[in-house]
């Protein structure tokens, strides 16, 4: 029975670990990029602007939260755009809607002048490295009432959560697999204690 559990734990640790490894590498690389914003990434953002005619949605400015976002998506479809919509602005002075939209490696701001239906689009391709940072930070703690308005973002949110929970599972199964080994027992116990002490010590120094 114990041998079966050991074999099962080993198989799960190996296969889940291999599946998860690209996701873990994404989070690891993006941490370095986030912590060292001065690293030259070699891919300057490409910007361009264009205009398209759209049918503006009457009364959109009176809506709030997700309802406003869902109606704004109809405008984006007419402009051939998709992505996660950010906070939508409205200027009553000139009847202009501002719709920010983003996805990995891409961001755009669509400004729609309601009376004319003219949408001016400022687009920016931010490159591969920025897409890693984008995925690391999304969905994140801000704009909770509209976040996840794009299906891909909802799927990514599950993936990011799944990565975290599976990483915890991998560490627990890894500890079990190590505990069964006798050869690394002493050094392993020392390292667990050293890690715990350095984490608790750091947290105490910073927050205490």
């Amino acid at each position: 029975m114990r041998k079966r559990i050991y074999i099962l734990a080993g198989d799960l640790h190996r296969h889940i670990g291999l599946f998860l490894s690209p996701f873990v590498l994404l989070f690891a690389v993006s941490v370095i990029l986030l912590n060292h914003p001065g690293i030259p990434l070699g891919t300057p953002a490409e910007s361009q602007a264009r205009s398209v005619q759209v049918h503006s949605i009457p009364g959109l400015e009176k809506l709030e939260g997700m309802a406003r976002v869902q109606h704004a998506r109809q405008i984006l479809r007419q402009a051939g755009l998709s992505g996660e919509i950010g906070p939508i602005g409205y200027s009553s002075r000139d009847g202009r809607l501002t719709i920010p939209v983003s996805r990995p490696g891409y961001e755009a701001v669509v400004e729609v002048t309601a009376p004319t239906g003219l949408a001016s689009i400022r687009e920016r391709k931010t490159g591969f490295w920025d897409s890693l940072i984008y995925l690391h930070k999304m969905p994140g703690p801000h704009l909770a009432n509209i976040r996840g308005n794009w299906l891909v973002m909802r799927v990514w949110a599950w993936s990011a959560d799944g990565t975290a929970w599976l990483a915890i599972f991998l560490s627990v199964s890894g500890v079990y697999l190590w505990a069964v080994l006798r050869s690394e027992r002493h050094v392993g116990v020392f390292l667990i204690l050293a890690g715990a002490i350095s984490l608790v010590g750091s947290l105490y120094a910073i927050c205490g």
Partner: protein, 206 residues
Amino acid sequence: MPSAVEAWSRKLHIYFGLYFLFFLWLFCLSGVLLNHPKWRITQFWPERELSTSELRFSPPRDRDDLGVAKDLMDQLRIRGEVTGSITHSPSGGFDFRAVRPGDIYEVHADLVKGEATVSRIHVNGWGVLSMIHSFSGVRRIDPTLRPNWWLTGMWRFSMDALAAALAVLVLSGIYIWYSRAQSRSGGMIALALGILALAGFVAGLF
């Protein structure tokens, strides 16, 4: 008989995994919390505690803004990272913000009178967990910023070390798996599925 490279890969995999075990849990849990701002336990901001105190201080010795802010923090017994812009007025007003996980301090000082009003926002443990996840002292919009509190720098180093350790864990894990011929096909499928799923997100193809 495993080769020396495989034996060392295995040792490194075990050692890094065990040392960074609790660091990994901390960042995994805080990451999940940050992704769920609607969960009841993550509603720490409405439950924040506010307090204000009036304090006196001696004239700061430093001339530059950050030096003055640090001097005032020492005198006012505030610990943390000076963040955002420091503003001062011709009449001697000097305002700045200092942050550490759990506490945000807004300092409004009058350098001429030697008086300061310190507003403190204190959040609960969930708030600390959320703040510690991104406590690096740097911002992408201003690459010139550097941590100005040594503990922020140390924590940023810890995050870098965890990231490097995760890369070592992944690469050593792949090497250990690949060097064992009997478990290659299932592992190849798992790795390929992971790469394909992630590539789809990164390329924005979905």
